[in-house]
């Protein structure tokens, strides 16, 4: 059967082989050479191991192919149903002026930067035209809570429509939480919102990254976190860390801040190359080769905390490990092949424009409109056949991209034409200098090194991240 392979730095004498459907195996160099040459003896364990994972087939392959097909279908099942994540950019207005921000505007001019009633109605129509049985409605901005009445209107209209439509709907919002007062929180609780906020680390770092009149962003965010938890419960809120050049110096302090505030998860996100962030790149930006050592240090620290009994996970690692260690896809739309842009997600902009992803509309703010699929007045079918979608489908399948098609990490990775457009002005991108590729091959090398080491505590922690449940097995008890 077809396979891909890689040698992992720090894993000596072993070769990683991966299959089209995400099975993997570490082979001894000699076994690997024999396997590759077709001379591996059927009497060896390596032969049986490879056969059990469907790297090799004996005789009639039909049963093996049936299992492989089932695994492939399962792995790509995110394609069924079309876009499930629908992002409503209710306003571009914001009270922050973050150095890395993509698109927000500091203005009081509501009419110009808020979503109109007419746009709202058409966008909801459009969302219900997608066949997905479960829908996530995400509110973005700007600071979406500056347009709270609009959010209320959208939520109520969607719930009204859904009495007939019967979809499983989840509401979510990305917000600084500063405007989340009693009335807002009560509304969010009633509609079971999942909230996401930005917390860049300890106060000094956060306030340096996220300037705001009065320089009290950190304090107000922490207060908001407390209010949200009191009303909506602990599990309704997660936080994202945007990493600036300054952040890279403080992995432990950033993780500690999340532990201190009681978060079970931290999402370490490198700066994205969009919007103002691109212009400010020289001051706050950095290359992926600078991000990777930071990540490696942060992950080691997180694993050390888990070993001591502090349960905290890194969310992106969780997604990557789910791709590696389970047969299932995740709900995460930003690392898929075919790309999640337009296929898994869709963005309704405040001005009525429809984009394939959040980054697609940011790209438009930078002057590149290639991922504007159309407007809220188009039909679902029109949008799916738009030039933008054709561009994404032609360039968003990693299996068919130069450099990706024979990468061992392909089954766990994804295509990101939007990112490539922003960075390189081309949706395919040039793999040897491509930041998306540098980042992900780097991350996969780190993770596969851990998997090759197979330290019982680390494996236990990883398993709990991909199953989202505490792992009960106690390796130390077994040794006793």
């Amino acid at each position: 059967m077809p396979f891909r392979f890689a040698r992992i730095p720090g894993v000596d004498g072993k070769v990683l082989v991966t299959s089209e459907v995400g099975e993997f195996e570490f082979l001894d160099e000699t076994d690997f050479r024999a396997f590759e040459a077709g001379t591996l003896s059927p009497a060896t364990d390596a032969y049986a191991d490879l056969q059990g994972k469907h790297f090799l087939v004996e005789g009639d392959p039909s049963t093996t192919l049936r299992m492989v097909a089932a695994k492939y279908r399962t792995r790509k099942s995110f394609l069924k149903g079309g876009p499930a994540l629908h992002v409503f950019v209710v306003t571009l207005r914001c009270d922050h002026s973050c150095r890395y921000c993509q698109v927000s505007r500091q203005t009081a001019d509501q009419a110009r930067f808020d979503m109109s009633t007419e746009t709202v109605a058409a966008a909801i129509d459009l969302m219900f035209q997608t066949p997905s049985p479960s829908l996530t409605v995400e509110f973005q901005g700007g600071e979406p809570l500056l347009a709270f009445p609009r959010i209320r209107q959208i939520v109520e209209a969607i719930e009204e429509r859904n009495r007939v439509k019967g979809r499983a709907i989840t509401f979510s919002m990305t917000s600084t939480l500063h405007q989340a007062d009693g009335e807002v929180l009560e509304f969010l609780r009633r509609h079971d919102f999942q909230l996401s906020t930005s917390l860049d680390g300890p106060e000094t770092l956060h306030d340096a990254n996220r300037p705001q009149p009065g320089r009290e962003s950190h304090r107000r965010t922490v207060e908001g976190i407390g209010r949200v938890r009191a009303v909506l419960g602990e599990r309704s809120l997660s936080a994202l860390t945007t990493l600036t050049r300054e952040s890279l110096k403080h992995p432990e302090a950033i993780v500690d801040e999340y532990v201190r505030l009681g978060f079970p998860s931290i999402f370490l996100r490198p700066l994205s190359p969009f919007g103002f962030a691109a212009k400010a790149a020289q001051r706050i930006g950095y290359g992926m080769e600078e991000f990777l050592p930071f990540y490696e240090r942060a992950l080691a620290y997180i694993l050390e905390l888990n070993r001591k009994g502090v349960a905290i996970q890194e969310a992106y690692t969780g997604f990557l490990l789910s791709h590696i260690l389970t047969p299932f896809p995740t709900g995460y739309v930003d690392l898929r092949s075919p790309t999640g842009a337009g296929l898994g997600a869709r963005v309704y902009n405040y001005d009525g424009g429809v984009y394939a992803s959040d980054e697609g509309r940011m790209l438009a703010e930078m002057g590149d409109h290639s991922l504007r699929l159309g407007t809220v007045h188009d039909s679902h079918a029109d949008l799916m056949q738009s030039e933008g979608m054709q561009l994404l489908l032609a360039t968003g399948v990693a299996e068919a991209l130069p450099g990706c098609s024979d990468c061992a990490f392909l089954p766990y990775c994804g295509a990101d034409p939007v990112f490539n457009l922003a960075r390189e002005g081309d949706p395919v991108g040039h793999r040897p200098t491509n930041a998306h590729c540098t980042k992900h091959t780097g991350l996969f090398r780190i993770l596969f090194r851990y998997l090759a080491e197979a330290d019982p505590h680390v494996m236990r922690t990883f398993t709990s991240w991909v199953t989202q449940r505490p792992v009960q097995r106690l390796p130390d008890a077994e040794a006793a």
């Binding site: 049986a48 009639d60 049963t63 299992m67 047969p327 199953t467 449940r469 097995r473 008890a477 077994e478």
Partner: protein, 395 residues
Amino acid sequence: MLPLHTRAVISGDLSRPLLKVLDLAEALRGDVPHEQVAVQLDDGIDVDTGVLRDLGFAAVMRPGATDIRPDDALPVICGLSNTDVVNPGDVIRVRHDSGQLSVLYRRGANANSLFLTEQCNSRCLMCSQPPRDEDDLWRVSELLELIPLIDRDLPQLGFTGGEPTLLGPLLPELIRACKAALPRTGLHILTNGRNFAEPVLADSVHEAAGCTTWAIPLYADVPSRHDHVVQAAGAFDATVNGIYNLAERGHAIEIRFVVHAQTLPRMQRFAEFIWRNMPFVSHVAFMGLEPMGFAKVNRDLLWVDPVDYGPALAEAAWHLQDRGITTSIYNVPLCVLPEAAWPLARQSISDWKNIYDPACEGCSMRPRCCGFFASHGPAWRSRGIKAFRFDEAAE
């Protein structure tokens, strides 16, 4: 350990060999047609059997009495060699000629199974119930008579054999009979699944979906090892296709893995194989050997002291349980399992198989332990057998 058979003295002509034994009060409630009821009259209860005859009852049962009474107006079953074998609620088969009395259904037992056929298309090295190639279709007719006599509040009924799919269209007929007579009872059907590789056969049991768990053994992640264990070429492929065909048709699947020297080398890989290829299964059961049938003959091919495979078993079982697939360990006493595996160990060997070793005397874990198979002997005794003192168990 309560046997399923005993001898009895039988007088008069029984029109049917299958009888539901009920005490007088329950018999008179009329839930079971009188002509299929043997009314149990314990010592000291004096009833005019003429009245019972007029009410249409089939027989009277006096387990302890040594002989019939002169005034008995009904066939009488009495003089049981072992009076504990039969109790009210049970369904019995009485052989007039030999005086053999067999319990086919036992009220309140921890497991009740219907034995469908002795025929099988596999020859597993460790088979506890070696198959016989003789026409035993009479069993199906008897079972069709038995099923309506089973208590309607029975939570679960097993089908066992032999290989039930060899019955062809009679298997769906038995399933239909259970659904009609026992609408609230779940079915647990042991099969090697090979015949379900034929989509037509998988279609034929569609009525079982929703009320049935198909318990299918798979002994490795690779065909050669599984085929060797079941002594049938092509069995692995057929079983995998059978599992997929059933799952695609909405059936619930349990995977069974018997741990012994021939399966142990692939056990860890097997767990990951299930997770990757069949994460839809509802239950995985790891089982210790039953020292019966072919297992006895093949003892030297199969035996591994459970103490030696305990840690590996815990690892494989938790691998699946941690991933959200309900997993159980059966037939391995707690004292030979690492404590890490205890939460997954189930107590339920069938009542009639469950015994304890003299060494178990005074063991404080006995109420939670599966004990041993009745047929075990010194060759099957783990060196890890021991009694837990109360303070150890409390830890």
